[in-house]
Subunit: 506 residues, 2 copies
């Protein structure tokens, strides 16, 4: 077998890539874009092939940065190349495309192949779309969940663990920053992993990151949770169920999230970190996963069933998701509001939702009588124990435990949107709020976001400020304002929704 000398290239690609000399490629019948297995000292990696005529000489292969890590090379090593035949997993993907049920081993093989980058993004898309069009049985979802959990790091705690998760869709949903310290303060373990925003203005990990670092190894995470009872860290940093991140990357442009994949995505991460009990928040409303109570109940039943088979005891809380939770949207603004709430000055919509969900966990963990969880959760919040626990968690994660809401800087560039007439607020549009906050710079610019001054049902007078937009940058602020004027995020009864400037009948 022909040997190649490894040459390290100062290049980084979205997927693993090697550069071959094109004469070598021609001689060996390797086509542009072919998938090859590179082997160096027994370590293997799969890569796409690109060509060069001079940059990489004959007998050399150039390897990109991520491959350098994976193969542990520094240049000069001897490597062998092998053109990949299509993995067996591709056959199983085609089987699923035909609508057939896959076995545990077949699903496991697909997930393993995704993890090893043996499947291209187009092939992964085919797998996700087969789920989208053909659905999956409960047994398949179970296999998918276990396989994804097995694709990365795993954790087991000695004590029982508790967790909260939301299926998402509602902006301003900073409830985890209240629920985690309430539960930890009650003496239960809550190892909360959360995500960074993909399409929303702030994920829980983005919001927490304003108060403390969120990127830890799995061992650091375990240590923090065991020491202070809880943590709020970024799941993406822990290498748990890493295949899920790869799958999300292909789902995102297509805006699909097939039910089997959504359930497996959530439960695989819980399984990986050893969660035994979970409350699942299912908001109902426009732009949410569930549009009606019936939808939510169906979704809940599915989660309960699959969770049960996997040994995760789940209870679902169906919540109102028709407008943002609390008044703020964007990492820093949300962190401030959560901190205010822990200090006893939070808005009702935030406090009620957080304590209701925390209450369910307290009842599951026998820290409250059945029916008393909500009250006990409010007590822990009101008597300051939750705030104290949150400061411990912040400190354990390397943040400033003495942080005050006013210490947190928000975007200096501010614009206000005012009411054009008197009336009642009839709608606050989740989608519009998300788009405007993102246009202002959230979540990348932590200080960017929105403060709502009124919510549904409030009476406003002409000229009242309906919302403030904060940005770190004048250009982004202008874009956000432009969007706010066209999308009408806060709708006041009787307001003009459009103006006909002249007769269009002609």
């Amino acid at each position: 077998m022909k040997m190649f000398e490894v040459r390290v290239l100062d290049l980084e690609f979205e997927s693993q890539t090697i550069v071959m000399n094109e004469s070598d490629a021609e001689e060996l019948h390797v086509g542009l874009g072919s998938r090859v297995k590179v082997t160096v000292d027994g370590r293997e990696a799969i890569a796409n092939t690109s060509f060069s005529s001079f940059l990489v000489a004959r007998g050399e292969i150039g390897v990109c940065r991520s491959l350098v890590k994976l193969l542990g090379v520094s240049g000069g090593e001897q490597a062998t190349l092998e053109v990949m035949t299509p993995p067996l997993a591709l056959e199983y993907v085609r089987k699923k495309m035909k609508g057939e049920e896959l076995s545990y081993n077949e699903i496991f093989a697909i997930i393993q192949s995704i993890a090893k980058e043996e499947l291209s993004s187009a092939e992964i898309t085919a797998f996700v779309l087969a789920q989208y069009f053909k659905g999956m049985s409960d047994r398949e979802i179970e296999a998918l969940t276990i396989s994804m959990a097995e694709s990365g790091e795993k954790l087991r705690f000695k004590e029982k663990t508790y967790d909260k998760h939301s299926v998402g869709g509602v902006p301003g949903n900073k409830v985890s920053l209240l629920i985690v310290p309430i539960i930890a303060a009650s003496g239960l373990l809550i190892p909360k992993t959360s995500s960074k925003a993909i399409t929303s203005p702030s994920g829980t990990a983005d919001t927490m990151e304003v108060l403390a670092p969120v990127t830890f190894t799995i061992d650091e995470f375990r240590e923090i949770v065991e020491r202070v009872g809880g943590a709020i860290v970024w799941g993406g940093g822990l290498n748990i169920a890493p295949v899920d991140d790869i799958i999300i990357r292909v789902e995102h442009p297509l805006m699909i999230d097939p039910l089997p994949q959504m359930i497996a995505s959530i439960l695989a991460k819980k399984l990986a970190v050893g969660v035994n009990n979970m409350v699942l928040d299912i908001p109902i409303g426009r732009g949410c996963k569930a549009q009606s109570k019936e939808d939510a109940e169906k979704l809940a039943a599915k989660f309960l069933k699959i969770g049960g088979k996997l040994g995760i005891n789940i209870q679902c809380g169906i919540t109102y998701g028709g407008q943002p939770v609390g008044y703020t949207v964007g990492p820093t603004l949300e962190a401030k509001e959560a901190l205010e709430a822990l200090m006893g000055r939070g808005p009702m919509s935030l406090v009620e939702k957080a304590t209701a969900l925390a209450g369910i966990l307290l009842e599951m963990g026998e820290r409250a009588e059945i029916g008393q969880g909500h009250v006990v959760a409010k007590d822990i919040l009101r008597n300051g124990k939750a705030l104290l626990k949150m400061r411990e968690i912040i400190e354990a994660q390397g943040g400033d435990p003495h942080v005050k809401p006013d210490d947190l800087p928000v975007g200096e560039h501010v614009a206000t949107i005012k009411a054009e007439n008197d009336g009642y607020v009839v709608d606050v549009d989740n989608e519009a709020v998300k788009l405007i906050a993102r246009a202002a710079g959230a979540p990348t610019d932590k200080g960017a976001g929105i403060i709502l001054r009124f919510k549904r049902g409030y009476k406003v007078s002409k000229g009242d400020v309906l919302m403030e937009i904060h940005s770190e940058n004048e250009r982004r602020l202008s874009k956000a304002v432009e969007l706010a004027l066209s999308l009408i995020p806060v709708r006041v009864e009787g307001m003009l929704l459009g103006r006909v400037l002249r007769d269009n009948a002609l």
Copy 2:
């Protein structure tokens, strides 16, 4: 807007790629793998982003070879970058995924976006899979065909044109090398574009390439056809319906070819080169598109209907596809057999099929009375006019017009597979034949392939040679032989299909 200096990189990727300095990328919020629009002097191209820390300095962008051509740069130019927002076409793909019917304009936008590389291979996969799972109306297929034809070069002849196409699946199908000269010899124009093999051991373009070059520009192609009445060229070289090639690349690993895409793929290329009349060969048999006569008739009806709307007059010939056509498989072996047939020494299965299909075209072109086409085609073949015309075509395409079958060198490494007992041949397996010929090196190694000594219904005696395998390379020959011994491509009645060496019951 920030300007970048263009730096030409000696790198070639499967898709358009630029390399940015990672500090620039961070500052401008450009993620790894983001799709950006690069503009230089008003010329635009879409590319994927990769990063470098030293190879490309701040303020520079590295461009790969295919972009160098597209943008017409040589280094040192000023370029601007713009992160692409998802194209509207992606919304239409999602609409199709929901099963909605797309308008002409929506399909046109999707095809344009594929042509401009605005859609990723995963997004193109989603479009093809939406067709696979949801189907397409006749109007959608029509729009798809026109849009694909519009994506590349187009040709119009002054006279009416005739063409033959096979939906494929049968190995050894060298009939076009007989049909084109028969039709051209009758005085009709036959501008035949054909494909190179993707999964088969030899496409018509691969076989013709043994006799003459097949890669031409659209103007060279027109000139040859107008001068000698016919040509057999590689469609991929003409830049006709280039989007089809992009789509085929994503279909191939998934082994799908949804009906709407298959019809549009064939008809778009015919539309592009101005074909008015076509005979479509639909073989029936294992491994073919049609499994039964009913399947074939349904497929034919669909082609006739869509063809009619597009102004292509189609007649279908349903043919037997249960075993290879003629006795040879592989580019050179097939070219030899076609030449022998033109010289009057062809096997019946080849001659009958070719003249039957040519006969339909002769009737369509009023060169034969209805019902007499087959006879007239055989006459043109027998009286040597087809051979003479073939030599003209070979010369016009730059080959040796005096070529004799024995001039064509086949693989020197030969193995034979022999009958293990007396009996009748009950099956010659198309799929096995294809796999063995490809293992021997076809179509890349022109001289590699198979000669069948017997076909279905023949009586053989123990020790008779059933097939010869030719290869240019000892290693590939061994692999092909190994495959032949396990796949049993030629099955003799009464032969042992497996041997139980000892009792498995234990």
